[in-house]
Symmetry: C3
Subunit: 270 residues, 3 copies
Amino acid sequence: MTNPHLARKAAENLKNLRSKKPLIHNITNFVVMNYTANALLACGASPVMAHAHEEVEEMVSFAGALVLNIGTLTPYWIESMIKAGKKANALNVPIILDPVGSGATKLRTDSAKRLIDELSITVVRGNASEVLSLAQKDSKTKGVDSLHSVDDAADAAIYLAKELDTTLAITGAVDLVTDGERIHRISNGHELMGCITGTGCTATALIGAFLAVDTDPVEATSTSLAFFGLAGEQAASKTKTPGSFQIALLDALFSIEKKQLEDGAKISVS
Amino acid sequence: MTNPHLARKAAENLKNLRSKKPLIHNITNFVVMNYTANALLACGASPVMAHAHEEVEEMVSFAGALVLNIGTLTPYWIESMIKAGKKANALNVPIILDPVGSGATKLRTDSAKRLIDELSITVVRGNASEVLSLAQKDSKTKGVDSLHSVDDAADAAIYLAKELDTTLAITGAVDLVTDGERIHRISNGHELMGCITGTGCTATALIGAFLAVDTDPVEATSTSLAFFGLAGEQAASKTKTPGSFQIALLDALFSIEKKQLEDGAKISVS
Amino acid sequence: MTNPHLARKAAENLKNLRSKKPLIHNITNFVVMNYTANALLACGASPVMAHAHEEVEEMVSFAGALVLNIGTLTPYWIESMIKAGKKANALNVPIILDPVGSGATKLRTDSAKRLIDELSITVVRGNASEVLSLAQKDSKTKGVDSLHSVDDAADAAIYLAKELDTTLAITGAVDLVTDGERIHRISNGHELMGCITGTGCTATALIGAFLAVDTDPVEATSTSLAFFGLAGEQAASKTKTPGSFQIALLDALFSIEKKQLEDGAKISVS
């Protein structure tokens, strides 16, 4: 079921990440800054958090990827993201967007859509309701409020990826990744990942890290989600409670060997 | 000594929290955002952190409780709290206030008093000096600077609860909860809870979670403090150092069964 | 090799820190606020984070040291640091500066230099490139871009400490502390400390704590770095992965006895 090419690619990406240690520029929310910085360090990347209008363009020029996350956003932070994103686009630095809470409040939905309109975003990662909230008013994906699972969302996601001209990652029990043509499903992971804060944000940051070493957005995204999901499985084999799970997850991101990832990645292509 | 009704109520509240998973809207300080989000998740609630003026009213309309915490405050954040609080009052969403550092600086004291003046606050939780700093200039509770223990503060707290028309929770070695009529004392807890940052803020957030499932402010507060204190006791039975204690505390919030809580809650009524 | 006076001084400083529990006022970055607060608590200090212009002067007046850290800075935060710093200078409260990312962006370099120009800073701690970026345009330390190790940087640091009239701590595999006259080298530590976020920021905060109990800046800095490095060694004896290392490090800061520190401190004088 697992695609052998993608399993090998996952291992290769992890190896390159650990040897190249790319700088990942994060403009992200207050809740997860510490944890995502530690997750990026654990897997071999070099995180930096910077949001001042005066420095985001300079900072992103050193980066292998730009991670934009709209949790705890205010208008100042959206401007930071626009500034950094335009510079990233000019320099061909890939951008990944996490539309945290899009669909829940007007500010979040409008901000996520504005970022997609004004920037060329390489990958968008969210849960089904967040991602599908990004559809335009007259989109074929309207009416998605009734979609509750990744499977229900697959058809809508394919249309939406084409409409937005980006790669979409809808994460859940099974993750779906599509650029509107290719569809990957990743079945790594563990339900305890939903019991700690910022797991989705961490997934987004790790996709950023993989984008810095893999120019194929669909493959970079699928392989990073398989890696993160496998780390969740390993952590859950150590503990069944969320405090210690959170720590074991960081340990696993650091410890997983590329052979383990090649053997454990569960990515299917349809 | 423990009140049997309150022990049962604690277990019932925990059960309802885990089944209903209420959204708890937090406008809180930067230091504790991650930890309180994880604590709320561990006990079954659904945390959200949002402070933008553009979205706080919308966000709080989905919430079962609003948690206001004035640590690391600036004027922008106080306005966020006022906006969210007014909407919460209009919708009958309970508000809990943590006056972090009130009494230490004029900004903190004035901000805490302004929130109490302009909003209808269901519960205020702090240590003795923070809570008693909220007394009005001509209050009978003046002169409380000499009060150093929860016991010393009991009489002052009763007057102050009536004066402010709210429920007060003064936490310490023994916690005191009063609405000016009823007085509950909670003797769960462990001294290691004072060796990690944000324990008080976490207690406040958990009171918010219990308020979302229990309309009696005094009982919601007492039972949540008993639950949190019991989690501290369980964590301290695993480790005696603060790093691992912090993690074991999250684990305990997730693991405690309602029967354990009913048996372990130490809430007395006087 | 280890200087016996400094080993005893380290133990004495730790003892005084734990008995006096000085308030340490931090104006620091969002990523590390929680971790540094926990580290300060673990070693016996009382941390407070406060950055509002309305309260920083009042807050610093209660403090034993002021910690300024320019990670995730914006202009508002720099003004907070200037305000708090001027008050600290007026009250003879020691200031320690962590010029996070100085040399990487113009905003960071300019801000670090402005803080040094406008304030009397007791200690500056950073890695070699951060510290050496603080040299003036016509400095003898120019051309330091080729310096990659603490050893390479020693001569430059001595000149720079005199030029800036402060104590410099350049941390790395071996830490270097100099006021332009005395030179201390601290060889405690473990490479896993580089695998978690905020280790440098935590070192800075702990130097702040030691400055609150030791009026000799060079000795306060050396002894705190030996203490922190020893904690890293103890943590690394428990675990080899970064998630659990981060927790074990807090545990060690709490557990190390003064006799252990006296025996384990590796501070040489040259």
